[in-house]
Structures are given as structure tokens and as C-alpha cells.
């Protein structure tokens, strides 16, 4: 069920993009607003047809302008979550979910709607009208409705932009948890780099309709040009960790491949898998194991490579077990520490330097 996309257009937004998404993979299309990323999603869904386009899913061609093939939107098996959710305001949450089902008895549809609403933790609210639901709840209904078609592709168009931060964190966890049961390609459109890094396996960075970078999230997020295109000054790395325990002083102990990490309290049970986004400029490097330091996290790491960044800054890639974290330090610091690839050093990280929304809960194990 591979999704293949190729789009070329002159207007209204010039586009020249091609990518593939594997089954079960989440690809983030990242770029500033007006870069054309939503247009790409609309092309996949069949809501817009550019001058030149090829969209194929699992060998079935949805649009191929070269061969004159263009399947109407309602005949494509897509699940789409709109930025505004676009729930049908005159239907209950349950009826919204059922509206996307076909060729089954009403009773079977209702059972399936219950199952999907339970999947997004809304089992008790099926009888509510959209206007009676919070933004986060509406988004969950929209996700359940998108899944109700048994889609071959799941498309998420800035689905987290209209909710507050706390709700957004809960929804990130929701999506990460859903990943465990979804086997179709998922495409997420976002302008939020943090969001993309927390959720995506791979990223395609788009600027003014052109692909600036594409590849695994970790690779793209350490690519200087990609970061520039995304308007990001600071690089960041993603670290997988497991919640170990919660201490009485409001701190949470996490286990990583390379040792213990202390962060301000996370709302997750011990054993939960999380992803922690570590900003490169928050990481301090030390040759010797530092003593008498207020920072709580000292992780043994190995220098992978050192590359020139902007101005006096350099980017140091550090291996932490099998994972990579980034440190943005000055070239003067590299010189005074005499850092070279292969060196063993200590990465120091303040607990408070990890923003609350830089942690994503509910990672599929």
C-alpha cells in the first residue's frame, strides 16, 4: 500500500514535488504557510487537480494527468482530517463517523462507530453534537470519521493548529498510540517543526513549492538548509526514552540507552515510551565528568562528526547508544576541547531546558 505522489504546477502556487510514503509510515510535509503543502494534500485527496500530477496507492492510479486518469474525490479511499475538522454540524459525533461508512447494515455501522470512537477515547460522547464538543474532542471525532472509510491513505491537514497547547500534547499522544494500529501511509501537513519531529518517521521540507530536503526525521532535522527553509534557527534531536518512575519533588526519571534522564514531571505511567526533543543549543559538552553542577542530566556520548554551521557556530553530532543528539557550540569551544570524531565526552542537559511540549507520550513500542 505504498503512496506515490508527483505534482508539478505553475499556479496558483508553483509546485514541483515528488515523494513516496510506505505503509504504516508517517510522513510530515513541513513548510511555511503558502508553501503549497496543503495543496499537495488536496491533490492526493482529489479535491484539486494540478497541471501535472501522478498519485498512486498500492498500484491503483488515482490521478495521472499524462494518461488522462482522474478519479473523483469520493471514489478515492482517503481519510482526511481537515484543519477546521469540518465535522457535519447537524449530525451527532456517532452519525459523523457513520457517514463515512458504506455497504453495511445500520447496526454494524453503529458497532464500528463505537469501536472507532473508543479508539480515540471518545466512547461516551457519541450522542453529542459537534458544537457541544471541545476543539480536541472535535479533532478526535474527525480522526475517527477519517478512519471509518478504511482508508488506503490517511491525510492530516494541520490537525493540531486550532487547539491549545495542553490539548495538543494529548492529541500527539493519541496519534502516536494510533500508529500502532494503522497500517496505511499517513501524511501530516504542518508548519510546526516540533510537531513534525515528535510525530514523523520521515520529513519532506517544502519552500515555495519546491522540495528543500527529504529523508528520515533525524537526518532532515540536522540539515542546515532544511532548518533554514523551515525558519528554524535552532536544530534539535529526538531521543527515545522510557518512563522509569516519578519522584516526590515533581521530577520524572526516564531511562535512555545511555543512562538516566531527569525531566519535569510527565503525565505518563512508568513503562510508557516517550520521545524527547532536545534543542542543540541547550546541550553543553564536557571532556571530564562534571562535578558540582546544577544540571541534572549528564550523559556519556561519542562524537560522530563536527560540521560548520552559521557564523561562529558548529554542529556536533553525538552518538548516544544507537541514537543521535545534536550540540550547537562555538568553533572556539571545539578548539579548546580539541574535539575530534570518535572522542568520548559528556553531554550536559538542564532538566528545565526541555519544554513541556517537546515531549511526546504514547510512542508505539
Amino acid at each position: 500500500m505504498v503512496l506515490q505522489v508527483m505534482v508539478k504546477a505553475q499556479g496558483p502556487i508553483p509546485l514541483d514535488v515528488a515523494f513516496e510514503v510506505q505503509p504504516g509510515e508517517l510522513l510530515a510535509l513541513v513548510g511555511p504557510s503558502g508553501s503549497g503543502k496543503s495543496t499537495l494534500l488536496r491533490t492526493i485527496a482529489g479535491l484539486w487537480t494540478p497541471a501535472q500530477a501522478l498519485v498512486a496507492v498500492a498500484g491503483e492510479t488515482w490521478v495521472d494527468t499524462a494518461r488522462g486518469v482522474n478519479l473523483a474525490a469520493h471514489l478515492r479511499h482517503v481519510g482526511m482530517v481537515f484543519q477546521s475538522y469540518a465535522l457535519f454540524p447537524h449530525m451527532t459525533a456517532e452519525a459523523n463517523v457513520m457517514s463515512a461508512m458504506t455497504a453495511r447494515t445500520k447496526a454494524a455501522q453503529r458497532d464500528e462507530a463505537h469501536r472507532l470512537l473508543a479508539l480515540v477515547n471518545l466512547h461516551a460522547l457519541g450522542a453529542r453534537m459537534p458544537a457541544e464538543l471541545s476543539g480536541g474532542q472535535q479533532q478526535r471525532v474527525a480522526v475517527a470519521r477519517a478512519l471509518a472509510r478504511n482508508p488506503q491513505v490517511l491525510l492530516l491537514d494541520e490537525p493540531f493548529s486550532a487547539v491549545d497547547r495542553a490539548t495538543r500534547e494529548a492529541l500527539y499522544a493519541e496519534i502516536r498510540a494510533l500508529r500502532g494500529v494503522l497500517d496505511m501511509p499517513v501524511v501530516l501537513v504542518t508548519h510546526d517543526v516540533n510537531e513534525a519531529q515528535l510525530l514523523a518517521d520521515r520529513m519532506v521540507v517544502i519552500e515555495a513549492g519546491r522540495m528543500v530536503a527529504s529523508g528520515p526525521t533525524a537526518v532532515v532535522m540536522s540539515d542546515r538548509l532544511a532548518l533554514q527553509a523551515m525558519g528554524v534557527r535552532e536544530a534539535a534531536a529526538m531521543l527515545r526514552a522510557t518512563v522509569h518512575s516519578h519522584a516526590n519533588d515533581g521530577m520524572t526519571r526516564l531511562t535512555t540507552r545511555a543512562g538516566t534522564l531527569w525531566l519535569p514531571r510527565l503525565d505518563a505511567a512508568p513503562g510508557a515510551q516517550v520521545r524527547v526533543r532536545i534543542m542543540a543549543h541547550e546541550v553543553i559538552l564536557s571532556r571530564a565528568h562534571p562535578e558540582g553542577l546544577s544540571a541534572q542530566n549528564i550523559l556519556p556520548v561519542q562524537v560522530v562528526d563536527i560540521s560548520q554551521a552559521e557564523g561562529p557556530a558548529v554542529m556536533v553530532r553525538l552518538a548516544l547508544g544507537e541514537e543521535i543528539i545534536l550540540a550547537s557550540i562555538t568553533s572556539r569551544a571545539v578548539a579548546s576541547l580539541a574535539l575530534r570524531p570518535g572522542d568520548h565526552v559528556h553531554a550536559v542537559l538542564k532538566s528545565m531546558s526541555v519544554a513541556r511540549d517537546h515531549v511526546s507520550l504514547g510512542d508505539a513500542p
Binding site: S84, H90, S99, A100, A148
Partner: protein
């Protein structure tokens, strides 16, 4: 009280509504969703009966429906009777001069549906007809009901065009508005008064309903 005329007017208004409802749905929906080069011209044509003097409009309809016109000849060929000065001719005229009253509110009703909601219907696998039935009509109904109420009320009150196209044949084309005029001409002020009061009550009732529905539509949009 001229009951024959009142019943004729109600029959004319009822049939006009029945014929214009599907027209309002499909033309209103088309104008609401599509943009094309001649859209301004089409909208102007639809609005024309609103600004043209009824006698002028009636004059052209009389010419257009007359025995020497292609429409009039075709009608005679099929139905064996003239189109002008018959109830059928009056109904056709009524349908045409009510186009703005039916299409405009319907168009506004469809325009009020957010684009993403319509797109969501397509992404849910709904064909355009199913989307119309399950999503668009339930959301646009205040606009459609306003269209039908306005059409009904306006048909009851139309005078100039009815006189031009229908003449004033009792039981066939003599509507209540014309009957009132005849009563006044014949100095039957009491009869004219009663009928005017009935027409006033019906019109006021329908317009009140329209405003109430518009308010509901406005609330839904906010």
C-alpha cells in the same frame, strides 16, 4: 369576498413553489459553488425581474408566449390550446418572475456551507447527490425555506405581470390582487377591504416567518 380568486392565487403560488424548488436547489447550488466567466451575467439575468417594471416584463412575456412566437406555437402544437390567457401561461410567467426570489436565498443558503465541510463529504465517499441529500440540504434548508416563502408571498401579490399575461378571466387567471383592483373599480370598498386584509395577513405571516428563519440561519453561521 372573492373565494375563487383567492383559491386561484393560492393554487398559482403553490404550483410556482413546487416548480421552483428544484430549480432553486440546482441553480442556487451551481451559482454558490462555481465561478465561471459569465457568472455575473447569469446572476444579473436572474435578478432582472426584480428591477424591470412588471408591465415591461409582462409585455415581453406576452410577446414570447404569444401565438406567433416559437414557444407559443410549440405549446399549441403539444397541448392544443394557447399559452397566453390560460392558467398554464400564468404559471409559466409566475415561475419566471419569481426566479430571483427563489434562487437568491437558495444561493445564500448554499454559500453559507463551509468549503471544507463539502470537501469532507467527498472525502467521506459521498457522491455529489448523496452529499446534497445528507449534508448540503440539511445545512442550507433555512435559505431554501426562505426562498419558497418569498416566492409564495410574492406570487400572491403580483399584479402587473398577471394582468398582462393572464388577462382577468375569472376562475382561470383572475388572481386575488386583480380581484381587489376590480372591486375598487366597482366601488365595492367593503369587499376590497376584506380581501386586502386577508392578503395582508397572509403576506405578513409569511414575511415574519422569513425573518425568523433568516435570524436562525445567521445564528447558525456565527
Amino acid at each position: 369576498m372573492d373565494w375563487t380568486s383567492l383559491l386561484l392565487s393560492l393554487r398559482l403560488a403553490g404550483w410556482t413553489v413546487v416548480i421552483l424548488l428544484p430549480v432553486a436547489i440546482f441553480v442556487g447550488r451551481f451559482l454558490a459553488y462555481r465561478s465561471f466567466a459569465a457568472k455575473g451575467l447569469v446572476e444579473a439575468l436572474v435578478m432582472l425581474p426584480l428591477v424591470l417594471p412588471p408591465t415591461v416584463f409582462g409585455f415581453y412575456l406576452l410577446l414570447g408566449f404569444g401565438a406567433r412566437s416559437p414557444i407559443g406555437q410549440a405549446w399549441v402544437a403539444v397541448f392544443g390550446e394557447q399559452l397566453v390567457f390560460t392558467f398554464q401561461g400564468l404559471l409559466l410567467a409566475s415561475v419566471i418572475f419569481n426566479l430571483p426570489f427563489a434562487i437568491q436565498p437558495a444561493q445564500r443558503g448554499f454559500e453559507a456551507i463551509p468549503l471544507q465541510v463539502r470537501e469532507a463529504a467527498a472525502c467521506c465517499g459521498m457522491s455529489p447527490m448523496r452529499s446534497l441529500w445528507k449534508v448540503e440540504l440539511p445545512l442550507a434548508w433555512p435559505g431554501l425555506l426562505t426562498a419558497m416563502v418569498l416566492t409564495f408571498a410574492h406570487t400572491l401579490g403580483e399584479f402587473g405581470i398577471v394582468l398582462m399575461v393572464g388577462g382577468s378571466i375569472p376562475g382561470k387567471t383572475k388572481t386575488i390582487a386583480i380581484s381587489i383592483y376590480d372591486k375598487v373599480q366597482g366601488f365595492d370598498m367593503a369587499g376590497a377591504g376584506t380581501m386586502s386584509a386577508v392578503l395582508l395577513a397572509i403576506s405578513l405571516g409569511t414575511i415574519t416567518l422569513t425573518f425568523w428563519l433568516s435570524a436562525r440561519l445567521g445564528k447558525r453561521l456565527s
